[in-house]
């Protein structure tokens, strides 16, 4: 493997809540190579978004204990950078797009203003140049009639269009890494496919790495090369997409895959995983998935480790890696 673009090791993030400290992200490690597409999947509250926000050091200062671990980027640990240095990286080297395009744009500024803001900040363009560049970017994200659209306010654009604008803002400074946090969740299915296509094309064109966060296995299958499955703040399985879909190892992954509706099989009830994700403030002895697990055994009572299981694969499940 080449030198990774981003290497996160043992990242732990803890939040203060009314009832005490909760661990939102528990010793998560990940690597991403230049130009690679990594998927992170898990249900709400599994810590996937917190992981992403932590990479950019964007958690609420008042309620977060300083994350521990290391986030290596270009030879520097992002966790040790000053806010000023961090701001220089945000938007220029690492960009991010969010779930809800309806609220991700400022309603009182034009599209040109909002794309231009990043360009002026990071590339020192003047107003005229940044407007020209904004039009190019809108063309690049396939917004028709870009020269006219650039002067509109967000409320005149549809959800899909706004997400394209968000992408245009994100790629404005040609970032090396784009973090897409549920970029298609709030969109119609047909628009979802278009946005994913667009992201894939842009990734190839600009040679950037993408971390795609989603709870939708279908999106992962289409987009990513490697997948990390998170559960209750931990990585439970990491594998190349092909292997994960054909032969999932962790019972949680199996459950996720089983609960995807299939067009060719007629079922009354979609299989679901019994129970729900544990309250993060509660301490569970041993495997976090234990209470919901169909194959739990004695070895699961001690905290299971994430262990290698075949080529480029890791899983946190003793029964499945027992010799």
């Amino acid at each position: 493997m080449t030198t990774p673009l981003l290497e996160v090791s043992d990242l732990t993030v803890r939040f203060r809540t009314d009832t005490g400290w909760m661990t939102a992200v528990d010793k998560v490690s990940l690597q991403i190579a230049p130009g690679e597409a990594l998927g992170i999947v898990g249900e709400s509250g599994s810590g996937k978004s917190v992981t992403a926000l932590s990479i950019l050091r964007l958690h609420a200062m008042a309620t977060t204990r300083l994350p521990t671990g290391r986030i290596m980027w270009g030879g520097r640990d992002l966790l040790g950078l000053s806010m000023r240095d961090m701001r220089a990286i945000r938007g220029r080297d690492i960009a991010m797009i969010f779930q809800d395009p309806m609220s991700s744009l400022n309603p009182v500024l034009t599209i040109a203003d909002q794309i231009g803001e990043t360009l002026r900040l990071h590339q020192g363009l003047d107003a005229a140049a940044s407007r020209r560049r904004a039009i190019e970017l809108l063309d690049l994200v396939r917004i028709p009639d870009a020269a006219r659209r650039v002067d509109e306010y967000p409320h005149r654009l549809s959800g899909g269009m706004r997400q394209r604008v968000m992408i245009a803002i994100a790629i404005a400074c040609r970032p090396k890494l784009l973090i897409a946090d549920e970029p298609t969740t709030a969109l119609d299915v047909t628009i979802q496919a278009q946005i994913l296509d667009l992201l894939r094309d842009l990734q190839a064109e600009l040679g950037m790495s993408v971390i795609l966060i989603t709870h939708d296995m279908g999106v992962i299958a289409e987009f990513a090369r490697r997948v990390m499955v998170m559960y209750a703040g931990r990585v439970v399985e990491a594998a190349p997409v092909g292997g994960l879909f054909t032969a999932p190892l962790h019972p949680y992954t199996e459950g996720l895959l089983a609960s995807i509706p299939k067009l060719d099989v007629d079922v009354r009830r979609l299989p679901s995983i019994p129970g729900s994700i544990p309250d993060p403030t509660m301490v569970i002895q041993g495997c976090r998935f234990g209470p919901r697990c169909p194959i739990i055994e004695a070895g699961c009572r001690q905290d299971p480790m994430l262990l290698p299981a075949g080529l480029e694969r890791e899983v946190r499940c003793p029964p499945r890696i027992a010799p």
Partner: protein, 286 residues
């Protein structure tokens, strides 16, 4: 920047305002008053401070439409020139409290550590009734037009600051603020470019109401003797000087009083119209 399409929305707001009945009425009243105030020398030709003792206490009649006061000064002239003073004070108070209040509001919304300090100061100012505060400040600063402006602005800053803060607190939780932070934009810039413009609607509406209150408050301060100093007329001090003769010469208090009511009414109508049109809930469906 060339704005081929951008002004459209602004025009739409203007069109909506023009269709809004109470805004139109208020706007016409305020525009007329402003024009009259500016054109005062061309309307009367008299000096508002020129005394003619022989002409004292003339009731409204052909040559003195509004009558004369205890020094024989033409009341119409004084009311017209008083409009300059009163409207200027109201405008200055609205602008000053708007600018300072908005800054305090966004600062405390954006920099949470400043919040409790700034808001406790605002609470302290709000604990005293605005008019009491203004009287105290006016007395402390001395009898000048500037001290009236400062006193009233200080009295109205807390309310404006609270309104802007409330609006900015809602805005700062929206995703586009997070998106701006992700793009590496500094907190100060986020405050000025994202929080402040989004609070513009409530700020504008509040400022029009401050304008209306300030006209009334100027009159109250003058009445209590801490208004703009005579002999230069303001609506407030004309009434204040006429109050000893209110039984014999009712016109001295009635005409400036009517002007005050009309200006306050006009500005309130303008504020109501702005609120209707700029309310974000109504804006979404436009």
């Amino acid at each position: 920047m060339d704005d081929a399409v951008a002004p459209r929305r602004r025009f739409r707001v203007v069109r909506k305002l023009a269709r809004h009945r109470s805004f139109s009425i208020g706007f016409v009243i305020m525009a007329a008053m402003l024009i009259i105030a500016i054109a005062a020398p061309y309307i009367t030709g008299l000096d508002p401070t020129a005394m003619k003792i022989r002409m004292r206490f003339r009731p409204p009649q052909g040559s003195f439409w509004f009558g004369t006061d205890q020094f024989g000064r033409d009341l119409l002239t004084r009311v017209l020139y008083g409009a300059r003073m009163s409207l200027w004070i109201a405008l200055a108070v609205a602008l000053l409290s708007g600018v300072v209040g908005a800054l305090i509001g966004v600062l405390s919304a954006q920099f949470r550590r400043l919040d409790s300090l700034l808001m406790r100061i605002m609470d302290a100012l709000m604990a005293a009734p605005a008019i009491m505060l203004a009287i105290g400040l006016g007395a402390a600063l001395g009898p000048q037009t500037h001290s009236v402006i400062i006193a009233l602005a200080v009295a109205y800053i807390p309310r404006t600051a609270r309104i802007v803060r409330a609006s900015a607190l809602v805005t700062r939780e929206l995703e586009f603020i997070e998106a701006a932070r992700v793009a590496g934009i500094s907190p100060l810039r986020i405050m000025l470019r994202h929080l402040l413009p989004n609070a513009m609607g409530p700020l504008l509406v509040q400022s029009t109401f401050v304008f209306a209150y300030a006209i009334l408050a100027e009159a109250a301060l003058s009445f209590l003797g801490v208004g703009p100093p005579p002999p230069a007329p303001s609506w407030g001090n004309i009434i204040a000087e006429g109050r000893d003769f209110s039984v014999e010469a009712w016109w001295i208090m009635v005409f400036p009083g009517a002007a005050i009511s009309l200006a306050a009414l006009g500005m309130n109508l303008v504020g109501d119209g702005l609120r209707d049109v700029l309310d974000p809930r109504l804006k979404v469906e436009s």
